[in-house]
Amino acid sequence: MKILVVDDETDVQVLFEQRFRKEIRNNEVEFAFAFSGEEAISYLSNHEHEAVLILSDINMPGMSGLDLLGHIKQKYFKPPPVVMMITAYGDAENYNTAKQLGADDFLTKPVDFTLLKEKLKTIT
């Protein structure tokens, strides 16, 4: 399963690689990283249908996670990949907006990786 992680914090890459090192080693998952919404779009355009799951932060400078979500769900990919939104706010407004835009699931920061891994199992 290929997962695209979108976050403006670059340390996210190291974190995911460490957290999923066993799974990566066992080729259960494969990660790609984008550090902005724009980068994520261009990645998706170049690697169509590769990413099954997209994990995106909401608060990012430039194109936000919600903008990205809208792009993915409305304009580009058919069938669209599963999109999980990660945000610092567990607030209703972001949640509802993301829901309306078609987000499949939510995670809050700090990310609970055990929970994430369980959610991944249901997807695969």
Binding site: E9, L15, Q18, A88, Y89, K109, P110
Partner: protein, 456 residues
């Protein structure tokens, strides 16, 4: 008959003059006496002419004139007129002597008649000269008296006017004092209100900050928590690998643990700085300058203001560009004050790009750029200039607004959204608190730059 015209003239001159003087000295009774004497002298003259009693009347004239003179000389209140009276005395005495000698010693008189006539004449001339000179003196005195009277009148009028003016001045002063007191009161009230507004401006920016902090603090916490959990797992693996004797793997894991430890440390410090920043901001300024890493400060407030705004307005978004001059060492500033200014400039910049974004111009990318720049001398450890530039690609500031942006309470934001104190406070912090300058460059339609220049 030849003689009586003389006494008549003398009597009229004397009585009229003395009557006038008595009137001037406000002695109406005395004036009446002289009036009576005047009528009496006319009567005497008429009687003399009608009844041919020259011989007796002649003596009556003398008695009458001498009586007037003696009476007048005795009047203490008519002292001024004594010189005038003296003018008549030689003539009267000469005439009297002539008549007396004529009466007593006719032979002697006939023999010396010429001399008596000369004496009378001299007396008459004396009288004329005295009267003439006195008349002149009187005219001068009269002129002076009138002049003095006029002066007195004028002085009186001036005195009255002075009193009036003093009254008016007192009235005006009272009015002004009252107005001053009222203004003083209004000023005090305004100052109180201003203090309150400044406080509310601080609170408003604090609100923006806390929202920013809520987001900002989650990111480092996310890393701290997760990396430490990862490390725990890695240590377990490490033990496993040690038991297996797989040295290469042990080394690799150890390296990962070390890297993660650094990350934990880094993000822990980041969270610490954010909390400290918030505390610093909420506290009133210490006013103490301390060595500050200006790039770190600017970056911290950039993130805080961006996320603060995002927290308030979910639809808001902008591209952030940063360009920090890494050669700037720590510089002496009041960190929370500079932070407040940077945050205010950034909030304005975000507001400007957001407004332009609402116009839905195709291809418009809201962008805010913040950069720092140190002058070349500063890099070598000498004093110099550090500038912080906040640039947006919003709609710019119209000229008519530009003149007012640093005025307290001026705002273009809708009522309730801005206190109008942000830029004026920023201006004070930079110019008064740091002896620097806050400049603005703007192009209508294409954006605005605010530049802070600090002399270090």
């Amino acid at each position: 008959m030849s003689f009586s015209a003389g006494p008549l003239i003398v009597a009229i001159a004397l009585t009229q003059r003395l009557r006038k003087q008595a009137k001037l000295n406000e002695l109406p009774k005395l004036a009446q006496v002289y009036q009576f004497c005047f009528f009496f002298s006319i009567l005497l003259f008429v009687v003399e002419g009608s009844f041919s009693l020259a011989y007796i009347i002649n003596w009556a004239w003398f008695v009458f004139l001498i009586a007037i003179i003696v009476f007048s000389l005795k009047q203490e209140k008519l002292k001024v007129s004594r010189i005038f009276i003296w003018a008549f005395i030689p003539y009267i005495i000469a005439s009297f002597a002539t008549e007396l000698t004529k009466f007593i010693a006719k032979d002697f008189f006939s023999k010396w008649e010429n001399y008596f006539e000369i004496a009378s004449l001299l007396g008459f001339m004396w009288m004329a000269a005295m009267l003439f000179s006195q008349n002149r003196q009187n005219k001068i005195a009269e002129k002076e008296r009138i002049k003095k009277e006029q002066e007195d009148k004028l002085n009186k009028a001036i005195a009255i006017r002075k009193v009036e003016l003093e009254g008016e001045v007192a009235e005006r002063t009272a009015e002004l004092t009252k107005q001053k007191d009222e203004l003083q009161l209004a000023l005090t009230e305004l100052q109180t209100t201003q203090t309150q507004l400044i406080q509310s401006e601080k609170m408003a920016s604090l609100g923006e900050l806390t929202a920013g902090i809520a987001h900002e603090i989650q990111n480092p916490l996310n890393f701290v928590n997760n990396f430490s959990e990862v490390n725990a797992e890695l240590i377990a693996e490490l033990v496993e690998e040690v038991n297996k004797g797989n040295i290469a793997e042990v080394k690799a894991i150890a390296k990962d643990i070390q890297d993660n430890e650094e990350k934990i440390n880094h993000h822990g410090k980041r969270a610490d700085a954010i909390v400290k920043g918030m505390l610093q901001h909420s506290r009133s300024s210490t006013g103490v300058k301390e060595p500050t890493d200006i790039n770190a400060l600017v970056d911290e407030y950039l993130r805080l203001s961006y996320h603060g705004l995002r927290a308030k307005d979910k639809s808001f978004n902008a591209t952030l560009k940063t360009d920090y001059d890494e050669s700037i060492n720590k510089i002496n500033v009041i960190p929370q004050d500079i932070g407040r200014v940077v945050m205010n400039l950034l909030t304005n910049a975000f507001y400007a790009v957001n407004e332009k974004k609402k116009e839905n111009i195709p291809g418009y990318e809201p962008t805010v750029t913040i950069s720092t720049n140190g002058s070349p001398l500063l890099r070598r450890g000498f004093g110099g200039e550090v500038s912080i530039k906040v640039e947006d690609n919003g709609n710019g500031i119209p000229q008519r607004v530009l003149e007012k942006i640093f005025q307290p309470f001026f705002t273009t934001k809708p009522t309730g959204q801005g206190t109008g104190l942000g830029l004026s406070m920023s201006y004070d912090i930079i110019t008064k608190g740091h002896a620097g300058e806050l400049k603005v460059e703007t192009n209508e339609g294409s954006g605005t730059s605010f530049i802070i220049n600090l002399n270090i």
